[in-house]
């Protein structure tokens, strides 16, 4: 029996994660090609496509980065395939170059970009609002607020993209990707084969003479798409009165519950914008006519608010518009926050929520490297050799957690791949030793080009590549260097050492970071050299090993009677499996992964067979 997400089972209802609903919507649209680079909160969408790929009727790939994912997807749609490319919001920065031009050439096979934004920075370095990218490029935007809509809008965005040959943005936020709700399925037709490529250089090769015309065609397409927004079932006006509220994205869900709480349902006019760009202006004007006040409810930037203000001004409407003056421009909303903004505009008293008192200053649970994490070994040895004398250029992955004491191995960080290039820049300006850390996935994402640059420009840099055989931080996705994936062996592995060699690095060493002596010795050797040196610290992430290759180490550590109570193990390693028990240290056997790093630090810790 095929997996329910792939089966042609219309009428069935399943409880789905927002990201799974997106997968189902794509299947219902007849998706042919899916590309991605993982990143929270988008990852369960591509991971589900990958897991189901042996029985799915689509092509799927984890690309090495977002630019490549968008280009592979772009090429596929140019060759007539219905295509979905997924990434987190900051990924769109990486992919922006091809994206802007794909908006000019258009997407003959249909193309949807899933941009998973993260208001509140639950798992990101910023909370940029990618609806602005959609305006910059000229792409229609769909913003679901429930699991059902995530499914339906994905399907309809793909269909609309194909009809108009225009790239479309499916813009979600963390709450939508990670909500769960019932989804009623539609048909899942056989996608068949892609149409194939039709040569037409004047349409697909953006030399200036062609680009000028392409831009005009894009503007025409947007006019046609505005007409689509005017009749979209996702854009509705309801209620009545002189107070209007316009909302998009997850804010529509908050607004719905807020009106219910305030007893204002039906007593104000509500403009729900599910397809939020291009703005359906006729509809918006109809909605605004007769309103005295208008509140715009949208998280992050005042995008809709500004567009509605422009429309009001152009049409000389006498209407007072509220938005970011009542609701924050950062973080997420809550139902109560929205309710109070509505109440304020309606001239009603704000509700004060009584809430229970918790307690401040409770011990926190900052994320920490897992017990047995090989990164801990690499950082421990690095501190032993360099202490505070080196500048630590970090990158994005689990190893960013090396920032925390006692390991303290991150001094700055810009974005994925920056450890190498920004590390080189810091070294030449500071005249100090720079040690850069990069994970295997990040190395292939954008470390390689920085490394070629470092060789070419003769930077002075010690680069430690933390090869844990997986993309751990975002859920253990494959990358070109991995040996295994959930589907089996990686048949076309790209070797990290050879890649470094290929871009001209002359000094390359390899160690197991859980071997303290050898790692320290390798670092000592590299410390005394100049130029670009690479140390590959190779050892699988124990979580990956357990989940993907079903391997775990046979031994665990224990503390002997002789423990002196100096707690060096605790203080130097901060391993979550070690704790204080009375006046001695102790090891939690359930957490210990058997990495044996602590044995190399204290003679009073020994190994024994697990269980």
């Amino acid at each position: 029996m095929p997996h329910p997400l792939l089966a042609d089972n219309p009428g069935e209802t399943h409880l789905l994660l927002g990201n799974e609903a997106i997968v189902r919507g794509a299947v219902e649209a007849g998706i042919q090609v899916v590309t991605c680079y993982p990143g929270t909160p988008s990852s369960e969408a591509p991971d589900t496509f990958f897991r189901l790929s042996p029985e799915g009727k689509y092509y799927f790939e984890y690309s090495v980065n977002e630019k490549v994912a968008l280009e592979v997807g772009g090429g596929a749609t140019l060759a007539g395939a219905l295509t979905l490319t997924t990434m987190k919001h900051v990924g769109v920065n990486v992919a922006a170059d091809p994206l802007m031009t794909l908006c000019y050439t258009g997407a003959p096979g249909g193309f949807v970009l899933l941009s998973a934004d993260d208001p509140g920075c639950h798992s990101s370095q910023n909370e940029q609002d990618n609806r602005i990218y959609a305006r910059l490029g000229g792409m229609p935007v769909f913003e679901p607020s429930t699991a059902q809509e995530a499914k339906d809008m994905t399907r309809d965005a793909l269909a609309m993209s194909k009809k108009h040959e225009a790239p479309v943005m499916l813009r979600t936020t963390t709450r939508v990707n990670h909500l769960r709700g019932p989804v009623e399925f539609g048909n899942a037709p056989d996608p068949g084969k892609a149409k194939g490529f039709t040569k037409n250089p004047s349409r697909f090769v953006p030399i200036p003479a062609f680009s000028r015309r392409m831009h005009l065609e894009l503007l025409d397409r947007l006019d046609a798409l505005r007409e689509e927004a005017e009749k979209s079932p996702y854009n509705t006006v309801s209620g009545a009165g002189e107070i209007g509220i316009a909302a998009s994205g997850i804010s529509r869900a908050y607004l719905c519950d807020a009106l219910e709480n305030a007893g204002l349902k039906g007593k104000v006019k509500v403009f729900d914008l599910g397809m939020s760009y291009p703005l359906p202006e006729t509809m918006a004007l109809d909605f605004m006519k007769g309103l005295k006040k208008l509140l715009v409810v949208e998280e992050l930037e005042p995008v809709l608010e500004n567009e509605l203000r422009v429309l009001a001004q152009k049409n000389s409407l006498d209407i007072e518009i509220f938005g970011k003056n009542l609701l924050p421009q950062n973080g997420e909303f809550t139902v109560t926050m929205v309710e109070n903004a509505v109440r304020e505009v309606a001239g009603e008293q704000a509700v004060t929520v009584d809430c229970c008192e918790g307690r401040d200053n409770l011990p926190m649970r900052p994320p920490n490297l897992c017990a047995g994490c090989p990164h801990r070994g690499a950082f421990f040895a690095t501190r032993e050799v360099f202490g505070d004398d080196a500048i630590y250029s970090s990158d994005i992955g689990c190893y960013t957690l090396g920032l925390l004491p006692p390991l303290s191995c991150a001094d700055f960080l810009l974005c994925m791949g920056s450890s190498v290039s920004a590390g080189g820049g810091a070294a030449l300006a500071a005249g100090q030793t720079v040690v850069a850390f990069i994970g295997d996935s990040t190395f292939f994402h954008s470390g390689l080009s920085g490394l070629a640059n470092a060789v070419f420009n003769q930077h002075d840099l010690l680069l430690v590549i933390l090869d844990n055989y997986t993309t751990a931080m975002t859920g253990h996705q494959p990358n070109p260097g991995v040996h295994h994936t959930v589907l089996g062996e990686n048949p076309s592995r790209v070797d990290i050492a050879k890649s470094c060699e290929g871009v001209g690095v002359e000094v390359i060493r390899k160690v197991n970071p859980l071997n303290r002596k050898k790692t320290v010795a390798a670092l000592e050797e590299l410390k005394d050299m100049k130029g670009v040196r690479v140390l590959i610290a190779e050892e699988p992430c124990p979580l990956y090993a357990r989940r993907i290759t079903r391997q775990s180490k046979p031994q665990v550590a224990y503390v002997t009677e002789n423990c002196s109570g100096r707690y060096e193990c605790l203080e130097k390693l901060a391993c979550p499996a070690i704790y204080k028990d009375g006046d001695k240290a102790a090891v939690n056997e359930l957490l210990c992964s058997g990495c044996m790093l602590c044995l190399q630090i204290c003679p009073n810790i020994k190994a024994k067979k697990r269980g």
């Binding site: 409880l15 997420e332 900052p366 979550p576 704790y579």
Partner: protein, 197 residues
């Protein structure tokens, strides 16, 4: 949606504890009962021992619960129950595990956790309607530590505070969990439900 009385359930625990499995199971149970349900999860760095918060909302459209909005608070760890108390409506219902999972700073002796008495006092200041259960112990008794969460759900189901019943939960366990772990979880459900009697 307005014909169903809205109920908002806030759940909190520590990464690796199975908070999300419990959330999904509760959501599936509500769905089986034919009620409109949405749930949400925030688990940025969950696998690395951080706090995991999730929600189950009956008869609401939003998947999020703000401060003072929760009718029920389910804490799978007592200190996390205390941390999440601001989400609870005064007079709401609390079900909490009484067994700690120590954060690193406490395990290394740099900080101390509030005692169970202190947690109870704080809860009492918000509501009379609360119950503490030794979840891990009940889980172990049922056959697996991880089933402890289901014991807490058992207590919730037996309390009648929500439309969810013990039978409906049992059915959802049978329908949605892998055959291997069904019995252990049914046992945990029963143990938790008994605690509420």
């Amino acid at each position: 949606m307005s014909d169903v009385k809205p109920i908002r359930i806030f759940m909190t625990g520590v990464g690796g504890q199975g908070t999300l499995t419990a959330t999904t199971l509760l959501t599936q149970t509500v769905l089986h009962l034919g009620l409109p349900v949405t749930s949400g999860e925030i688990h940025g760095m969950a696998q690395r021992g951080g706090v995991v918060e999730s929600t189950v909302l009956i008869g609401c459209k939003s998947p999020k619960i703000g401060h003072g909005e929760a009718d029920v608070l389910l804490g799978f760890e007592p200190m996390e129950t205390l941390r999440a108390l601001p989400y609870l409506k005064p007079g709401g219902t609390v079900f909490s595990s009484s067994e700690y999972m120590l954060p690193l700073s406490v395990a290394t002796g740099r900080e101390t956790c509030p005692s169970l008495d202190e947690v109870e006092t704080a809860v009492k200041a918000c509501t009379d309607d609360f119950r503490f259960l030794p979840c891990q112990t009940l889980g172990l008794e049922a056959g697996a530590v991880q089933a402890g969460n289901i014991a807490l759900l058992g207590a919730l189901a037996a309390s009648g505070k929500t439309p969810v019943t013990v039978e409906a939960m049992a059915e959802a366990i049978r329908a949605n969990m892998k055959a291997k772990i069904v019995d252990v979880n049914l046992k945990a459900l029963e143990l938790g439900a008994k605690q509420d009697a």
